[in-house]
């Protein structure tokens, strides 16, 4: 499977990770080698098989909808490098 420079651009845009020009050829090599291995899947006809998203068939369990105060905003926000008055700070989005 071939990965083009345009594919790399799209992947970079979607994943929000920069791909440097000087590493792009080795990255293309890695990705192509992984996708070639993955393409072995095409040997199987799976047209009549249902996808299995999860190994265990149980429905997800729900807990009682009871208010808990175990999340402290201040404590969680301590983890952020930029915050003010309970808000997370980012560079300006709207001029």
């Amino acid at each position: 499977m071939k990965i083009t420079k345009q594919d790399l651009k799209n992947i970079s845009l979607l994943s929000k990770i920069k791909i440097d020009e000087d590493t792009s050829s080795s990255l293309i090599k890695d990705l192509e080698s992984i996708l070639t291995m993955v393409n072995k899947m095409d040997e199987l006809d799976t047209s009549k098989i249902n996808p299995l998203t999860h190994p265990i068939e149980n429905t997800q369990t729900l807990r009682e909808d009871i208010e808990k105060k175990d999340i402290e905003r201040e404590k969680l926000q301590k983890l952020s490098k930029e915050k003010d008055s309970g808000f997370y700070l980012t560079p300006k989005v709207i001029e």
Binding site: S33, M41, T46, N58, P91
Partner: protein, 479 residues
């Protein structure tokens, strides 16, 4: 008191109960050994003072005959498990200054059972790797031969147990990350049924595959630890609300076993030493009355390709949370919101993590979703059906843990060659089945493992079989 560090968990519990030695003595012995073997790079954090204080408290409880089941026994946790007010890095620059505001359920359960956390072990970045070389904190060395890899991603935990830096350590397994390092380091490691152990507070890689487990010196010790880690947790919506059997009792019970051998897979093992050692292990069990049946797992060879779509797809979604805003690395060179996202992620993630995010992003993108992700999920169904069919006639399935013994650090640069390390371990993750690795011989003078896969919620049975094997052999003894 250096002999205390050589003891198994079972013997440490016994010795503490009999007051043959104290928790203070074991804890200090391990802390000294950790300092002596610092160059192995097994630990990312060590909690020396706190561990010593807890040991004194444990000794008080023991003196009052008020000891909890694991009272005073030092444990190491893989640095993927959050511990409140402690650094939890997941082996990544992204989380190198992340102090967790809460504790994982795995830590809480073992802490409540009385275990003393001596430190947090090194690992491949975000548990993505099979050699421990992707860690931001540098690779771990294999204690048996320091030129070789301890395996990954739980290489720090496996090497720590092997080097007698703790008698047991927590670990996680998404595609083999408990079993492969256990095989490489000659220790015992179990990944229980998906949902058996809570994932709450365990940093996510691929949520439908990730499962916590344990690395220990033998099956008996693993059974004890697993007993205190397992159980339903309301905080994890995929946690199984099923009774946890007493693995500690089950490991020693008189049980009948029928082992399924996937004939074709065994015939295709390339490494002669691995194939011979596997056959030898099976014949040891057969001589002891264990029944052997041939089985077919016709789609097992498609596990690796399916996994390398599903795991990266889930990883790309899970790791989208690292945005540089709320927690984790935040770039300093930013002039826009886009810069903040892109530069924080580009600087914070290492090469292997980026590769997997890229693959996952690609496979989930418009035009490729059906051909890759949906196709892989269908194959996952076929693999699960193969196992369901096999378990109609056998009680467990055996195959090697890995195709080879450990390799030299730095010797594998091709990502696919590295991924092939997990060729025998991935199927159990795709199906959500419990699986373990026990030492079963050597190849190129390094340990190799026998893998036993059990039916859903049947951890006790494979632990029982592993214990039976360890009673009949001495491959698990550190020599």
């Amino acid at each position: 008191m250096s002999e205390l560090i050589n003891l198994s968990l079972t013997d440490q519990i016994l010795g503490l109960t009999n007051k043959s030695f104290s928790s203070k003595e074991i804890t200090e012995a391990y802390l000294n050994e950790i300092k002596k073997k610092k160059s192995l790079n097994c630990f990312i954090s060590i909690f020396e003072e706190e561990a010593k204080k807890k040991a004194l408290l444990a000794d008080v409880n023991i003196a009052k005959n008020d000891a909890r089941p694991l009272e005073g026994i030092p444990i190491a946790h893989k640095d993927i498990f959050c511990i409140k007010d402690k650094k939890t890095t997941c082996g990544s620059k992204m989380l190198s200054d992340f102090i967790s505001p809460y504790s994982s359920e795995v830590f809480s359960k073992l802490d409540n059972a009385g275990a003393i956390t001596i430190g947090k072990t090194n690992m491949d970045e975000f548990a993505m790797g099979s050699s421990n070389e992707t860690s931001f904190y540098g690779n771990v060395l294999n204690p048996i031969n320091e030129k070789l890899s301890p395996g990954g991603s739980s290489g720090g935990s496996a090497a720590a147990v092997r080097a007698n830096l703790c008698s047991f350590a927590t670990a996680t397994d998404t595609g083999g990350s408990i079993r492969q390092p256990a095989s490489f380091c000659g220790v015992t490691g179990i990944k229980p049924t998906y949902g058996r152990v809570s994932r709450w507070g365990m940093i996510a890689f691929a949520s439908s595959l990730d499962q916590a487990g344990i690395i220990a010196k033998n099956a008996k010790d693993a059974a004890i630890a697993l007993k205190y880690m397992s159980g339903y947790d309301q905080k994890d919506s995929t946690s199984l609300n099923e009774e946890v059997k007493d693995f500690q009792k089950e490991v020693d019970a008189d049980q009948e076993h029928v082992i399924g051998i996937p004939k074709e897979l065994i015939e295709n093992i390339k490494n002669d030493q691995v194939r011979d050692s596997f056959r030898n292990a099976i014949s040891i069990l057969e001589k002891d009355g264990v029944k052997i049946e041939e089985i077919n797992l016709p789609h097992i060879e498609y596990s690796l390709p399916a996994y390398y779509v599903i795991a990266p797809a889930e990883c790309s979604a899970n790791l989208a949370r690292y945005d540089g805003i709320r927690f984790g690395h935040r770039s300093e060179s930013i002039s826009s919101l886009e810069d903040l996202y892109v530069n924080s992620r580009t600087e914070g993630f290492g090469r292997e993590v980026k590769n997997r995010i890229f693959i996952g992003t690609f496979c989930l993108s418009a035009g490729y979703y059906d051909a890759f992700y949906n196709k892989a999920l269908k194959i996952r169904n076929l693999i699960k059906s193969d196992f369901d069919e096999a378990f109609k006639k056998v009680s467990s399935i055996a195959m090697p843990t890995c195709s080879d013994s450990s390799f030299e650090l730095g010797s594998i640069s091709d990502p696919v060659e590295m991924y092939e390390q997990d060729i025998y371990t991935i199927p159990a993750n795709l199906a959500g089945l419990p699986a373990l690795s026990v030492p079963s011989g050597k190849a190129d003078d390094m340990p190799i493992g026998l893998q036993l896969i059990g039916n859903y919620l049947d951890e006790g049975r494979i632990l029982n079989l592993a214990n039976k094997f360890q009673k009949l052999s001495d491959f698990h003894e550190f020599k």
